[in-house]
C-alpha cells in the first residue's frame, strides 16, 4: 500500500492589536481552531493606530447608535463564545488615548525571541484590558502579564528592556506594513494562504467562509475549548 504524505498545513496569519475588542473574540476562536484545522497559525502583533492612519480609516464607534450596538454585540458574542469580555470603565481613555504602542512592541520582542509564549502573553494582555480593566501601557503591567504567561522573570525583564531598540521597532513596523500590503484597514486582519495565494479577511465574523475556502469544516465557536481562564 502506498503511504500518502499528510497534506501540508496551510499558513494563516493573524494580524492583531490587543486594543481591539472584536480581535480578542477572533483570537480565541483562531486558537481553538489550531487543533481542529490543518493550519499553521502565525500570530502577528501589529499597530492598529498605524493601520488606521495609513488607510485613512477611523475607529468604528464614532457613531453613537453604532457604538451602543457594538457594546451589546460584543457582550452577546462573548457570552456565546465563552470569552470573559468586559468593556473597560473608561473606554475613550483606554482605547483612544493610552494606546498600545508599548504592548505591541513587547509582543514583537517576544515574537522575535521566544514565540512559544506569544499566544499566552497575548491572552494575558487581553485579559488585563478587557476583563480586569487594568493598564497595558506601563512596564510593570507588561511584566505582570509576561509572568502570568509563564515567561521567566529575568527573560521578561530583559525583553522589556529592548522594546525601544531599533530592531524591535523595525520589526513591529514591518509587521504592520505587511498587513497594509495585504489590504488591511482594521483589526483583526486574517490572511489565509490557499494554493499559494493570500486570502485576506477582516473581522472576527468570517470564520465559516474562511473554513469553506480552506477546505475545512466550521463547527461554530467551540466554547468547550475555551482557554481564557479567569
Amino acid at each position: 500500500t502506498s503511504k500518502m504524505a499528510a497534506p501540508a498545513r496551510k499558513t494563516v496569519e493573524f494580524f492583531y492589536d490587543v486594543l481591539s475588542p472584536y480581535t480578542w473574540l477572533g483570537f480565541e476562536i483562531m486558537c481553538r481552531y489550531q487543533q481542529k484545522w490543518n493550519i499553521d497559525l502565525k500570530l502577528r502583533p501589529f499597530y492598529l493606530a498605524g493601520v488606521f492612519k495609513s488607510s485613512d480609516n477611523r475607529p468604528p464607534a464614532m457613531v453613537p447608535a453604532k457604538s451602543q450596538y457594538m457594546g451589546r454585540d460584543l457582550w452577546r458574542l462573548a457570552d456565546m463564545y465563552k470569552v470573559p469580555f468586559k468593556l473597560p470603565s473608561n473606554v475613550i481613555e483606554v482605547l483612544f488615548i493610552k494606546g498600545s504602542l508599548n504592548a505591541g512592541r513587547f509582543l514583537t520582542a517576544v515574537d522575535m525571541n521566544c514565540d512559544q509564549y506569544l499566544e499566552e502573553l497575548t491572552r494575558q494582555l487581553f485579559l488585563r484590558i478587557f476583563y480586569r480593566d487594568e493598564d497595558i501601557t506601563e512596564p510593570a503591567s507588561l511584566l505582570s502579564a509576561a509572568m502570568k504567561a509563564g515567561i521567566p522573570e529575568d527573560l521578561a525583564k530583559q525583553l522589556l528592556s529592548t522594546i525601544k531598540d531599533q530592531t524591535v521597532k523595525d520589526r513591529f513596523q514591518q509587521t504592520t506594513q505587511a498587513a497594509l500590503d495585504y489590504g488591511a484597514f482594521g483589526a483583526p486582519t486574517i490572511v489565509a494562504h490557499v494554493d499559494g495565494k493570500p486570502k485576506m479577511f477582516f473581522g472576527s465574523d468570517r470564520f465559516e467562509l474562511m473554513a469553506h475556502m480552506l477546505g475545512e469544516k466550521w463547527h461554530g465557536p467551540l466554547p468547550e475549548l475555551a482557554k481564557a481562564k479567569i
Partner: protein, 225 residues
C-alpha cells in the same frame, strides 16, 4: 405548529445594500427550517445614515476594495448571483433612488404577496445584471418580471409620490431607528416579548441562538436563484 408559536423576525432592508441581499436570501431559506414568521420591511438606508450621523462604508479605499472581494466570496458561498458594479460608489449615489423603496412600500401596502419576488428582482437588476432601476420603464419591467399583473403595476407606479406611501416608508424607517438601527440590513428577532436587534448579514449564529434554533449553513439547496 401553530402560527402563534412562530417567532417574528423583521428584516429592514434597502435594495441599495448588497449585504442586505445576503440576509434576505438566507432568511427566506430559513423560513422552511426555523419556526419563524419573516416580515420584510423595506426602509430608507439613506435616511438612517443621515439621522444617525453615519457614513457609507465605501469611504475608505482599502475597505471598499475588500468589501468587493468579500461580497463575491459570500455570493459564491451562499449561491447568490451578486456580480457587483464597475463603479459601486458612483452608482449607489446616482443610479439608485428613493422611488425603488417607495415602490416596495406601495407593494407592502397593496399587494404584499408580491413583495418577496419584486425585492429579489430589484436586487437582480441592480446588483446582478447592472441594469437601471431609476426609470419608470425599469420599475415596470421589474414588477412584470416579479409576476405583478399589468394593471396592478400601473396602479403602483402611479402612487409612488402619494403622501400615504411616503408616510409609510418614513414610519418603517423610524421604527428601525427606534430599534437602534444605523445601517442595513437591520434584523429584529422578537423573542419572549423582547426585540433583539442585529446589524449585518453575519450574525446568524447569534440569531439562531436567541431563537433556540440551529444554524444549518448557507442552505444553497434552497436557493431561489
Amino acid at each position: 405548529m401553530a402560527d402563534a408559536d412562530k417567532k417574528v423576525i423583521e428584516l429592514f432592508y434597502d435594495t441599495i445594500s448588497p449585504y442586505s441581499w445576503i440576509a434576505f436570501e438566507v432568511l427566506c431559506r430559513y423560513r422552511s427550517r426555523w419556526n419563524i414568521d419573516l416580515r420584510l420591511r423595506p426602509f430608507s438606508l439613506a435616511a438612517v445614515v443621515t439621522e444617525t450621523g453615519n457614513s457609507p462604508p465605501g469611504r475608505v479605499p482599502a475597505k471598499l476594495k475588500w468589501m468587493g472581494k468579500d461580497l463575491m466570496r459570500q455570493a459564491y458561498f451562499y449561491k447568490i448571483p451578486f456580480r457587483g458594479r464597475k463603479d459601486p460608489n458612483n452608482d449607489m449615489a446616482n443610479k439608485h433612488n428613493i422611488n425603488v423603496m417607495l415602490l416596495l412600500t406601495a407593494v407592502t401596502m397593496d399587494c404584499p404577496q408580491h413583495l418577496e419576488s419584486l425585492t429579489r428582482e430589484l436586487w437582480l437588476r441592480f446588483w446582478s445584471r447592472e441594469e437601471d432601476i431609476t426609470q419608470p420603464a425599469s420599475l415596470e419591467a421589474a414588477a412584470t418580471a416579479a409576476g405583478i399583473p399589468a394593471d396592478q403595476t400601473a396602479a403602483l407606479l402611479a402612487k409612488l409620490q402619494d403622501e400615504t406611501v411616503k408616510a409609510r416608508l418614513t414610519e418603517t424607517t423610524q421604527e428601525a431607528l427606534r430599534h437602534g438601527a444605523f445601517g442595513a440590513p437591520t434584523i429584529v428577532a422578537h423573542v419572549g416579548g423582547k426585540p433583539h436587534m442585529y446589524w449585518g448579514s453575519d450574525r446568524f449564529l447569534l440569531i439562531a441562538d436567541v431563537l433556540g434554533e440551529e444554524w444549518q449553513g448557507p442552505l444553497t439547496e434552497l436557493a431561489h436563484l
